[in-house]
Amino acid sequence: MPAYSEKVMEHFMNPRNVGEIENPDGVGEVGNPVCGDMMTFYIKVKDNHLDDVKFKTFGCGAAIAVSSMVSEMAKGKTLKEAMKITPRLVADELDGLPKQKFHCSNLGAQALQKAIKDYLSKKKAEGGKE
């Protein structure tokens, strides 16, 4: 087993916010180009804040812990703040990741940002219609 921090193990064993959101405001799906894994984030937006964040992950222990941590960090943040969540920040919050697992933390931040962008582009499209 890779040398995971206690925090990673804790999030892995008890991941927060697993699941899907019905009629989400945004969805972000990313594949891990390194090992072929997959992560999907669902968001619900209210007053420009992330009202709810949920995820599904097909991947290693680190990927699951990363998704859980990202969802926790993002929840309640404004969209702008949430866009600032970087892989580095996520890894730091998890008390570090083994070197060969750092790429898994890219996935989490990317999937969340993609979900937010999805929301923004949908909103723009709707705005255009009005």
């Binding site: 390194v34 072929g36 599904k56 992950t57 990927a63």
Partner: protein
């Protein structure tokens, strides 16, 4: 909590008879086998006794055994040493696509050194077709290497048939029998081969010691130059305690091989039949019957191996996986890919390898703790939810 070690393919435990045999050589018997005095003589006699024990396990002559530092070294030595020794004859090497990295990467190194390499494919069970070996042979082929049994998917290869073909064509044939020796009866005369690798920690001997058996008269280029240990073919002061341990482990394997088969086979078969009945969407990897006795391997769809390993470890169960995420190189197992298993499915690889300490209760424990783990991970998996949605939509 119950502790269940089912990773004997990684390493078997050391038998107490073996460690007891080694202890004097970690203490009072410390001489260098090359020395010309009593101290040296005692150590040399111990090494020679071990050589005879290892030879007996595979039906060879003692002087045909070369001790090495590991199965990996034996394989490196065989591929590089046998190819280099024959380079005036030709520069073409043939290995199967599912070899251990110590064979495959050695063959790749030979490519860099100006040899040409052909990889023989396998079928969906990981079996090499001997006719494919025949087709790959050329005038300048000097070496064929196909493993005896695959440690990751358990499949046993048709070594005898391949050896018949290489003999007809006068090509040296090496087999990596690291996963097979000590578990299956292995007899070099019956197999009709020229060289064979084995390793101590695969059959209850110590780590850090292996052997290469080389048929008398087959030439090899040493990889380690120095003194004239091991008949001048492998220099370096012998690791006497480890060699003594390997010898003892070989002796025990030779006497107990039938009992081992009898103990391990039902455990394997129990898991192979029960797991797919308890968990949906499971593929057995490797040959369903013609496989190592203590070896059951699967791919569990929609989820990834490392996360299963971690959750199983949390329940006291030790297994391994060939998923990309569990590999340091972050690549899916080349063995599963060579068998035509898609990358996604290969991510769910899980390998159970039983040992003489394993019991039927251990298998039942796995059958109890694994399904909820699979369930949990599938609930988290976007692939699984996609699958559920599309299969529902199809109805």
């Amino acid at each position: 909590m119950r502790k269940v070690y089912l990773d004997n393919a990684a390493t078997t435990p050391l038998l107490s008879e073996v460690s007891e045999a080694m202890i004097p050589y970690l203490g009072e018997v410390f001489g260098n086998p090359s020395s010309l005095h009593d101290w040296g003589d005692t150590a040399r006699e111990a090494v020679e006794a071990a050589r005879a024990q290892v030879a007996q396990l595979i039906g060879a002559d003692a002087e045909e055994i070369i001790f090495t530092g590991s199965g990996t070294e034996s394989n490196n030595f065989a591929i590089k040493g046998l190819a280099l020794a024959q380079q005036t004859k030709g520069k073409h090497v043939v290995v199967s696509a599912i070899e251990h990295f110590s064979v495959l990467h050695s063959a790749r190194t030979m490519e860099k050194w100006g040899f040409e390499l052909s990889l023989v494919p396998v079928d969906k069970y990981g079996v090499v077709d001997p006719e494919d070996v025949r087709k790959s042979l050329r005038k300048d082929t000097v070496l064929v290497s196909v493993m005896h049994a695959n440690g990751e998917v358990g499949t046993i290869e048709p070594i005898q048939e391949i050896a018949r073909i290489t003999r007809e064509n006068n090509v040296v044939f090496h087999t990596d029998a690291v996963a097979a020796t000590g578990t299956l009866p292995v007899d070099i005369k019956e197999l009709g081969i020229d060289a064979l690798s084995l390793a101590g920690n695969q059959f209850y001997g110590p780590k850090g010691v292996g052997a290469l058996w080389l048929r008398r008269g087959v030439r090899i280029m040493p990889l380690l130059d120095g003194g004239v240990q091991e008949g001048g073919r492998r220099a370096g002061t012998e690791n006497v305690p480890a060699i003594v341990g390997l010898g003892k482990a070989a002796e025990l394997a030779a006497t107990n091989i039938a009992a081992r088969l009898k103990h391990l086979t039902p455990l394997r078969d129990h898991l192979l039949t029960e797991l797919p009945s308890k968990i949906e969407h499971v593929l057995i990897t490797g040959h369903p019957q013609n496989r190592l006795p203590g070896h059951a391997s699967f791919c569990i769809e929609f989820i990834e191996g490392e996360s299963m390993l971690m959750m199983l470890n949390n329940q006291g169960v030790a297994v391994s996986s060939g998923s990309a995420c569990t590999s340091k190189a972050l690549k899916a197992s080349h063995i599963l890919i060579a068998m035509g298993i898609p990358h996604e499915l290969a991510q769910g690889s899980l390998l159970f390898s039983f040992g003489m300490d394993s019991t039927l209760e251990d298998v039942d424990y796995v059958l109890e703790v694994l399904p909820p783990i699979v369930d949990r991970l599938r609930q988290m998996s976007p692939l699984y939810s996609k699958f559920i949605k599309t299969s529902k939509g199809g109805k």
